[in-house]
Symmetry: C2
Subunit: 342 residues, 2 copies
Amino acid sequence: MENLIRVAVDAMGGDYAPAEAVKGAVAAVKEKENVEVLLVGKQEVIEKELSVCSYPKERIRVVNASQVIETGEPPVAAIRGKKDSSIVVGMKMVKQQEADAFVSAGSSGAILVGGTTIVGRIRGVERAPLAPLIPTKKGVSLLIDCGANVDARASHLVQFAKMGSIYMEHVVGVKKPRVGIVNIGVEEEKGNALVKETYPLLRECKDINFIGSIEAREIPAGAADVIVTEAFVGNVILKLYEGLGATLLSKVKEGLMSSLRSKIGALLIKPALKATLKSFDASQYGGAPLLGLRGLVVKCHGNSRETEFKNSIIQCISFKEQGINEKIGENLKVSNEEKKEG
Amino acid sequence: MENLIRVAVDAMGGDYAPAEAVKGAVAAVKEKENVEVLLVGKQEVIEKELSVCSYPKERIRVVNASQVIETGEPPVAAIRGKKDSSIVVGMKMVKQQEADAFVSAGSSGAILVGGTTIVGRIRGVERAPLAPLIPTKKGVSLLIDCGANVDARASHLVQFAKMGSIYMEHVVGVKKPRVGIVNIGVEEEKGNALVKETYPLLRECKDINFIGSIEAREIPAGAADVIVTEAFVGNVILKLYEGLGATLLSKVKEGLMSSLRSKIGALLIKPALKATLKSFDASQYGGAPLLGLRGLVVKCHGNSRETEFKNSIIQCISFKEQGINEKIGENLKVSNEEKKEG
């Protein structure tokens, strides 16, 4: 079949490797006709998992990689030292255009380092941001950057805003996505040095829908579609989102179990509550893309299950079909030319 | 009565001024014998509120102030221009030692500016941090700094750690409070330039119980008692805490109202759920202290009610009785001398 999109999947990454990655691959090729999955990792182990699944055989291939990068390993040393690891092998396939994208639930550090050093950035991109989708009251917002490169410059944040807008518009399907910069107040004169420098640059961007500063309080309400911030703050927001959600829900559960009356009530509300809270679960959108690379790299949660792997693979299809990288390259090329002229 | 602790309260600040501030003052003098409250603001208005309350008359005094600083006013201009505002008059009383503390639910900006310019910092304190208590699974943690002065230096953060430890130990009553620095990973080599510079300085502090980096995910679980961070990140954490809590609870409510079955369940669980979630409400601890000033300034939420005002006033009593400022002054004096010797 022509125009088959090839997604390499790290079968060895994540808490439930290889089972859940393999199941996600199987589910993806069953759901979408135009995708081929290349499962990267220990061949024997993967084939054993596959042997109990039924799926269109011609669209899942196993690519052997004998090594595994563990979560605790120092990323740079791991990427350099483990040439036959599933992460290095999968990323090399993207670099050599044997795959369009790479999906992994493995070591975040290794994925971020490998993305830049193996896959490489699109010409004109200064830094490749990690941009997870986070759930909001209205749906979902893109939080960009949550990567490992802290102490960003204003020019990085401007590129994040542009890349994030393109992604939200063409992959998630939000028309004219509202771009906000995380700040400690909404007035333009507020903020730290980085925000004050970035704010006027964003206001000047004609190709994004910049709505100004947003306070962290407004993020869960869905006040912006693209939430621009440097990686330290982005990381704090992402982690606090996870931690606070878990703590609040455990508090609610504790309350439900505190008396006989409330236990009976809990049985009655369970299905409705489960359905509502599911809408606040980001895994339905798949993992976080690492944007601005020559190819796509998607980082899934360490605790990803079949659904997140499947949706991450499907995300890669939209990404490729919509020509996101071509759009990013074109946009930044124009911006850089304008800068030279200006 | 001797040893009466005098707390000036801004009767004009907050969404429910003057009623809730006045009620809080009345509740405080009824609960505690050793406090005198000075209600600062428009005399006539305050006296009208007081006229319907019963309380020990000799322990509430009204101090007239004809002006009010509104929330939206530029703080520096407001503090300079409105010499007869409740905030300026109340803070001057602290400066002139006519009051031991000042409590206000008014403009955050004006309170922060006034704290430093009118009340003034303790000798040796480089910056006065705003340190709210945030609820956790285990109780409460001090988040220091959430003020308006961003782009902090490492030496500021070290002082925040020390002041925060003294406060948590002697006002909140946590023995050997665990001090953590907000970071994007737990390894020492992780972090932005500021965190990398501060980490070894905190490790060297003999008078605090430094437990290293904490990720934002761990904050709601109560992983540290004193959470050290610069004000931009602190502000993001504080605001996201509020915003995400509100959004998640509204999601839960939406789930409860979605079917007849769940509505009946909701009636049964309501009392238990309310009690559990109340334990996750920080207002029982009162407002946020602005530490390191010659006197105490406490910033309450704009939407504070009687209970938060009352608890803020009671907080001032512990603060004074425990000699927190003397302890801070002594601690920083010793640290500065050690620095000179070293």
